[in-house]
Symmetry: C2
Subunit: 328 residues, 2 copies
């Protein structure tokens, strides 16, 4: 509702004088900063950076800016961090990681600041954005069943500490039951996430002479290690047996292309969280975000149905190693 002439005149003056609005003054008057804070533990490793990237993308699209906080090591500092964010006047907060100190939630709601937890599902304390781990497990097991596998193993993360690891394990168990398959007890290993852990777990599994024809790995570091162990043992993958994994980091598939994996589009967690927060900040009272779907990615040849178990594979000559040319 302004004449086109003056609008142009003003815009010209803006350009000429190099005027930029003062966000502080605007924030003071408008009572909002167009800023959301993110509290990020363990920034270095894991998939948090990707999630932050997605979050920033979604927020920037709506004109919001991301204020980043990382409680370096001390868990204790987090209340202070949250307070700093509130002083900065963030309009919303994204909490990365499922475990948060209780005080966080009370402070947040006392200040009526909308928030989400990212990389988690289900919490009594507020809404979460995360992946449908059960659906992912079904995805993997469906695929293995379709390939003709009947007996499978599982190398997963510790279920005691990790809610997601627990869900993955349970999902596998349920899906296996639904398909009438069996989970080999000797091929069931729980360990820390990591390359070496996967390597050692697979060696243990080979030594146990389990009759599993496929092994599911609970994350991609484990898968990379397991594949490396198979490689050294002279086992061809995926011809003789199938490895499938949950792919948190687009890592294992990168190292070993002929790998079936369930890929998590992690940036989407961030984007979903961003959209949700924007809606909350606009007072739209959106419905809680629903679990994000995985993507099943099958790389390399889908090949013939595997017939040999680990035991028989183990007895082959190590000289028949995979040729480089097979993996262009």
């Amino acid at each position: 509702m302004i004449s086109d002439a003056t609008r142009h005149r003003v815009l010209a003056a803006v350009e000429r004088l190099g005027y930029v609005a003062n966000g502080a003054a605007r924030a003071l008057a408008m009572r909002r900063t167009m800023t959301v804070g993110a509290i990020v533990p363990r920034f270095g490793s894991s998939s948090f950076p990707t999630m932050i990237q997605g979050l920033e993308t979604a927020l920037a699209a709506k004109g919001y800016t991301l204020l980043l906080s990382a409680p370096a090591h001390e868990e204790a500092r987090e209340p202070a961090i949250l307070r700093a964010l509130i002083e900065r006047g963030v309009d919303a907060v994204a909490l990365l990681g499922s475990r948060q100190p209780r005080q966080t939630f009370s402070t947040l709601s006392a200040h009526r600041i909308p928030f989400v937890m990212m990389w988690a599902l289900e919490s009594d304390d507020g809404d979460c954005v995360g992946f449908d781990e059960h659906g992912a497990a079904a995805c993997v097991v469906d695929h293995l069943a379709q390939l003709g596998h009947r007996r499978i193993g599982f190398i997963g993360g510790h279920t005691a500490d990790n809610e997601r690891a627990r869900r993955r394990y349970r999902g596998i168990v349920e899906s296996v039951a639904r398909h009438g398959m069996s989970l080999c007890e000797r091929a069931l290993i729980e360990t820390d996430y990591g390359f070496r852990q996967g390597f050692e777990a697979m060696n243990t599994l080979i030594a146990s002479r389990s009759d599993a024809t496929a092994v599911v790995c609970g994350n991609d570091y484990l898968a990379a290690g397991a594949l490396s162990a198979l490689d050294r043992a002279g086992v061809e993958v995926p011809r003789d047996m199938s490895i499938a994994s949950f792919n948190d980091n687009e890592f294992a598939a990168y190292l070993h292309p002929p790998l079936t994996s369930v890929h998590l589009p992690i940036a989407e967690i961030g984007e979903q969280a961003g959209r949700y927060l924007v809606a909350r900040m606009r007072g739209e009272n959106p419905s809680p975000p629903s679990p994000l779907p995985f993507e099943l990615i099958v790389r390399g040849s889908s090949g013939p149905v595997p017939t040999r178990s680990l035991v028989s594979v183990r007895q082959r000559q190590p000289s028949k190693r995979r040729q480089t040319s097979e993996n262009p």
Copy 2:
């Protein structure tokens, strides 16, 4: 300069009323926001997240907060992004990546906003924080010389695109000359950074029957790929030959522990940048940051001096593969 009684009374009231200062009002009055912006291209991969982590740590220690911006894909959007940061009133800006649009620098200096470039050295446009790539090269070559190597190869990144790759290559060349060693022409490969590229480069190198006894890899993805190729070729590492690498991501060493690598404490770039910016914001006019030193990390046995070249190694029986137990 306030009576202890009133101070206590005020603090109590603060606690009771749940008062938190209004940053916007404070920023308006003080003319500074205690906030610094970071412009981060290519957030997902690479070592940028670690640098951001370090930056945030250093800034938070001084009471500053990090405002994060990521020009998703479009290079063109960056001026708008910078403008948004300036509107938010950032007191300083950190630029990640060496290549920046020229307009960025003029805008920044027009607004008298201090800034640094991170992950780069030397620029006419402003101060940089980065690693001493020449020193790193010297570090690697010194180590190889000390182990007795005389002829080495180099698998590095493309020097045309990448200033850092260029510096690494030059550093290697100079250090090799200084030690009176030789750089085998057939064992000199320039490629993209990546696992598969390293894998293929090492295969090429093996096929070329070069007489190099050690190969330096220009980054850790290359090293991981190269080691994998050696592994499949049945070559023991590092007994028969040495692989050394510049370690940008703590990646190769993670996959293959017995690796000599020059490790970049990447978070330190961020911390150094943070300290520098804080000094600038305080008007302290600090001297330009000096190149950060690498750390030489030798993993596994430092072992006997290698004697066999790639050619001789190549002729061994593939059956003599490395045992798992050797790598606890």
